[in-house]
Symmetry: C2
Subunit: 537 residues, 2 copies
C-alpha cells in the first residue's frame, strides 16, 4: 500500500455517537480515520466535492476513448496488418522491462502519458493480424469479429442469467445450434468455455458423471479406477484435465498413432482391453480432429465403433480441426464426428473469431450438463423469477460470471454468411497446397509428411547440410536450424512461425496459414525469407 | 450445412495426376469437387480472383469499425450511462426472439444491416454501466479499463508465452505483484484465471497437490479421503470445484456461520475434528472475505490459527471483498489475509476492470503452481528458445491459450493511481452508509443487518404489511414482495437490483453500489423508486 490514510476521503468531523456503524468498525473499535456516518448532509456534500473522479469526467472520458480508438485503428488495424511493418518490435525481457514504465504508482497519470504507454504497449506487442504471423493456431484480424468484441467489452455483462444477458443468452443458443448442425446434430446442448483445454475438461467431467452420477457427491474415491484413452498426438490438456479432475495422469492410456499422427484403432482396442484387464473402467475416449502439431485427424468412425462396443463416451477434440466442417470439400476429414457424445471446437482459431471463443457441444438432450455442474445458487437462479427460467443457463457452467463469447462469432457469421466462411476455410487449404508445391520445387525444404490439414510441417535444410549423409550428426545439426532461424526472424520482425520436435523428429517448422487476406505472394515471401535467414547455416 | 458444394471455390480444371495430394483426398479417394493442386499458377490466379473477401476490403473494414465505435460511444458509453435512459429495454425471451433476427444464414449481410443488428443488440442488452444498475457484484464503466479491453481485443494474443505476449507477460507479473503487496506479501506467485470460480478451483487443486504431490499422477483413488471446510455463506464454486476436481461435494464440510454470516472458528475446529475422526484428511479451508449475499468477512486470523494447528492450506476467497485492501480505512476487514496460502481476488468486481479479471495469488515461492499444472507441451514451451524461458509462464495454467486480462486493470491503475482507486473503494462504503441512514428514516424499509461491507440487504415492507404481526402469513406475503418489485422495475427499465432468500430469511433485496459516478441523489432515487413500485402492495 503506497500512500497514507490521508489519501482517502478525509472526514475530519469525527465521532459517530450511537450509530452502531459496524461498516466502519475494525475488530478493535471504531477506525479513528473515518468517523463516517455522522451527519448525512455532510457526507453528501463532501461526496460531491471530493469524489468526482477527474479521470471519469465525461469530456475527458470520451476524448480518451476516441484517442485510443484512433490509435487502435492506425497502429493495430492498419499498420499492424501491413506486410511492410514488423510482426513484432522485439526486445528481450530485461530490455523490454527497462523500456516500458510498467510500475503502478500512488498517483495517476495524464491522458497524454497514458496514450504514450499504450503506443509502446502496441509497438512491442506481437501483431497477430500481420500477414507474416504464422506462429499460432490463430491469426488474422476480422473486422466484424473485432467489432463484436468491442461491443462485448463495452456492454460488459455476464452470461449467467437471462436477466443480465437477454440478447446473449438467446444468441449463444443460436450459435451453438449452428455449430451442432454442422456436426450433424439437430438437437443437443452446449456452452462456450474459456478455451479448448477447459472444454476438454468439461467433456471429461461429463463422461465421468454420465457413467457414475454419484461422482459429483462422492468423488473419485468411491469409484472404480477410471481409464481415459487418447492418442500420443493429442493435446496436452487431456493430461492437464486428468490431473485437475482427480483422475490422475496415470489413468490416461496413451494410444499409439500411425506415422501420419492418427490414432490406430487396433491399438485403441488393445489399450481398452488392457485397461479392463487391470480392473479399470474405460469411461472416455478423447479423439482428436486436427492435432496441434501435425494437424492429423483420428479415424472417428472406427473409434466410434469401439466406443459403442465398450460403452465408452466419445469426445472429439476438434478445437483446431472443427472449422473444416464448414467446407463441403474438406469436411470428410471429420467423417463420423456426428457419432461423438461431445465435441470441442474453437472458432477463435481457424475462423478468426478472437480469443476466446471455444464451444463445447453435446449430443445429450437430457440436461446432463446442468445436472452435472449445477449448484443452484439462490442469489442468481431464483426460482420465483417472472420469466421462463429455462433461459437462465448459467448453472450449466463451472463458472459463475461468464464472459460473452458468442457475439464476435455471431456478427462475423452474419457479415460473411456460411458461404464466405466456407471460402475462407477452403482458401487456407489452397494456400497450404500452394506452399507444398513450392516447397517441392526448392532444394532446401523437406516435408515431414503430406499434411491432410493446414499444418505444414517441414525442415529447412541449410546449404551446409544439403546432400550430406543423414547421420546422427546431421540430425543434431538440423535440430539447431529451426531455433536459429526463428531467433533471426523474430529479432528482425519479418515474420513468426512455430517450430518443435515431435516424437523422433528433430525440430521442424509448423507453418499455419489462416488469414484469408493472404496471397500466394505471401507464401513465396515466407519460403524466400526462410532461405534468406538460413543461407549461412 | 447450408448451401451446396458450389458455394466453395470451384476449380473446374479437375485431375491432379500423381500429386499425392493427400490434402484433398477423402478416405475413399480424391474428392471429386476439388481437384485442387493442379497447376500452381491456376490456383494462384483463381485465389486472387475469387477470394478477396469483400467484407475485408480495407476501406469497408475501417468504415465499419468507425461506425461501430461511434455506436458504442453514443449508445453504450454516453446514453447507456445516463440516468435518464433505461437500464434495459426489457423483452421476455419469446418476444425478444421474435424481435431480433438472430438466425445465421448462407449469405452475408450488408454493413447497414449489420449496424442495425448491433443497434438492436445494444438496445435490448442490460446497461451494466448505468447508474441504476445495482444487480451484480460488478457495475459502472471505467473508460481506462474499457480502453485497455479494446486494445486487448485488437491485439488478440495469448498469454501462454513471452514470444506471443512479451508486454503482457511482464505486465501480468507487475499487476500480480501489486495485488500481492496489498495482501502483505513481498514475494509469491499468481495467475489470472477465467473467473473467481476457477480461481477457487486452482486453490483447491494446489492445496491437494501440496499435501499429496502424487495426486497429479495417481488421482484421488490412491489418496485418503480428503476434507474441505468452508462456511455456509461461501460461494457455490467451492461445491462446484469439489465436484469437478473429483473430491466430491460430500467431502465439503460446511461450517456454521454466525448471524452476521461469518464463519464461527469454534465450529470450524469441531468440523475439522469430526472429519479427522471419520478418517478424512483436512487439506483445505476456504474462507471468504466478502460473501456473495451478505458481504460478510470470515475471521481470517482465527481461521489461520486453526489451519496452522491442523496443517491445512488456507485459501481466502476474496473475489468480492479483496478490493477493500486498497482502503486504509477498510482493509482491517481482511486482517490476517497475509497468513493465507492463496487468495482469489476479482478486480472486475469492485474495481470495475471489466469481465473477466480474476487473480489467483499465492504465497508460494517454490514453483508449486507450475509443478502442479505443467504438461510441458513441446510446441509451446520449447527448451531451446533464445530468450529466458522463465518468462514462458503459460504452463502454470490449466489453460493453453489464455486471454490477456492484465492490461485493462493496469491501464486503469496507471490512470488513477492507487490513491484514486482507494477513494473509489471508500466512496462505495460511504454511499452504502448514506443509504443505511436513509433506510432508517423510512417506514417501509427494514435492514437484514448492519453490513460490514457494501452489500446492503433489506426488506421493503409494503404499506399493507406495515405494523402487522410477524406471523407465517406475514413472511409468506413478504416473500413475494421483492420478486414483484423486481419484475416491475425491470419491465419499466428504471433500475435493477438483486434479491434472494438466504437461510431462514425470505426474499430480500441486496443492493450493491460500486460505480464511483453515483451521488446521494442516485441513492435517494433508489429508495424512492422502490417505494413507488411497491406502493400498492
Amino acid at each position: 500500500m503506497d500512500g497514507s490514510a490521508a489519501h482517502g476521503i478525509s472526514f475530519n468531523t469525527v465521532d459517530a455517537p450511537g450509530l452502531q456503524a459496524s461498516l466502519f468498525e475494525s475488530s478493535t473499535g471504531v477506525d479513528p480515520h473515518t468517523g463516517l456516518g455522522c451527519g448525512v448532509h455532510n457526507i453528501a456534500t463532501e461526496l460531491e466535492d471530493a469524489i468526482t473522479l477527474p479521470s471519469q469526467r465525461k469530456g475527458d472520458r470520451d476524448q480518451f476513448l476516441e484517442d485510443i480508438f484512433r490509435m487502435i485503428m492506425e497502429e493495430v488495424v492498419q499498420k499492424g496488418t501491413d506486410a511492410s511493418g514488423k510482426v513484432c518490435d522485439w526486445l528481450d525481457p530485461e530490455d523490454l522491462k527497462n523500456t516500458l514504465d510498467l510500475e503502478l504508482k500512488s498517483n495517476g497519470e495524464s491522458s497524454r502519458s497514458l496514450l504514450d504507454h499504450c503506443r509502446d504497449i502496441i509497438r512491442y506487442s506481437v501483431k497477430t493480424g500481420h500477414p507474416r504471423f504464422f506462429n499460432q493456431l490463430f491469426a488474422g484480424l476480422d473486422c466484424h469479429a473485432l467489432a463484436g468484441r468491442m461491443i462485448t467489452e463495452a456492454l460488459n455483462t455476464s452470461q449467467a442469467t437471462y436477466e443480465t444477458a437477454p440478447v446473449f443468452v438467446l444468441m449463444e443458443e443460436v450459435v451453438l445450434k449452428k455449430l451442432r448442425q454442422l456436426i450433424g446434430w439437430q438437437t443437443g446442448d452446449g456452452i462456450f468455455c474459456p478455451g479448448g483445454s477447459i472444454s476438454n475438461m468439461y467433456a471429461m467431467n461429463l463422461a465421468r458423471y454420465h457413467l457414475f452420477p454419484e461422482s459429483k457427491q462422492k468423488g473419485m474415491k468411491e469409484l472404480p479406477r477410471l481409464a481415459v484413452f487418447t492418442s500420443s498426438e493429442c493435446h496436452y490438456s487431456v493430461m492437464k484435465g486428468a490431473a485437475f479432475l482427480g483422475i490422475g495422469t496415470d489413468s490416461v492410456f496413451v494410444v499409439q498413432a500411425d506415422n501420419r499422427g492418427k490414432m490406430i484403432p487396433e491399438e485403441l482396442e488393445k489399450r481398452i482391453q488392457g485397461a479392463k484387464s487391470q480392473g479399470a473402467v474405460p469411461f472416455l475416449v478423447s479423439a482428436t480432429c486436427g492435432t496441434t502439431v501435425l494437424g492429423s485427424f483420428d479415424p472417428i468412425s472406427e473409434i466410434a465403433d469401439l466406443c459403442k462396443k465398450h460403452g465408452t463416451w466419445l469426445h472429439v477434440d476438434a478445437a483446431w480441426g472443427g472449422s473444416a466442417l464448414l467446407s463441403q470439400h474438406h469436411r470428410h476429414l471429420l467423417n463420423g464426428i456426428e457419432r461423438a457424445d461431445s465435441v470441442a471446437w474453437n472458432p477463435h482459431k481457424m475462423l478468426m473469431a478472437g480469443l476466446q471463443c471455444s464451444a463445447l457441444l453435446l449430443k445429450d438432450t437430457t440436461g446432463l450438463m446442468k445436472k452435472c455442474h449445477s449448484a443452484s445458487a439462490s442469489y442468481l437462479f431464483q426460482t420465483d423469477k417472472f420469466y421462463d427460467l429455462s433461459y437462465d443457463t448459467g448453472d450449466k457452467s463451472i463458472q459463475c460470471g461468464r464472459r460473452v463469447d458468442c457475439l464476435k462469432l455471431w456478427l462475423m457469421w452474419k457479415a460473411n454468411g456460411t458461404e464466405e466462411l466456407e471460402k475462407r476455410v477452403n482458401k487456407a487449404f489452397t494456400l497450404t497446397r500452394f506452399l507444398i508445391e513450392e516447397i517441392k520445387k526448392r532444394d532446401g525444404f523437406r516435408l515431414l509428411m503430406e499434411p491432410e490439414f493446414i499444418n505444414l510441417c517441414f525442415w529447412f535444410i541449410p546449404p551446409s547440410l544439403r546432400g550430406m549423409p543423414e547421420s546422427a550428426d546431421y540430425w543434431e545439426k538440423l535440430r539447431k536450424v529451426a531455433p536459429t532461424i526463428k531467433e533471426r526472424m523474430v529479432r528482425k520482425g519479418s515474420m513468426m512461425v512455430g517450430y518443435q520436435p515431435n516424437g523422433d523428429n528433430v525440430n521442424f517448422f509448423r507453418q499455419i496459414v489462416i488469414n484469408p487476406e493472404l496471397t500466394e505472394g505471401d507464401m513465396t515471401f515466407f519460403l524466400d525469407e526462410i532461405e534468406r535467414l538460413g543461407v549461412d547455416l
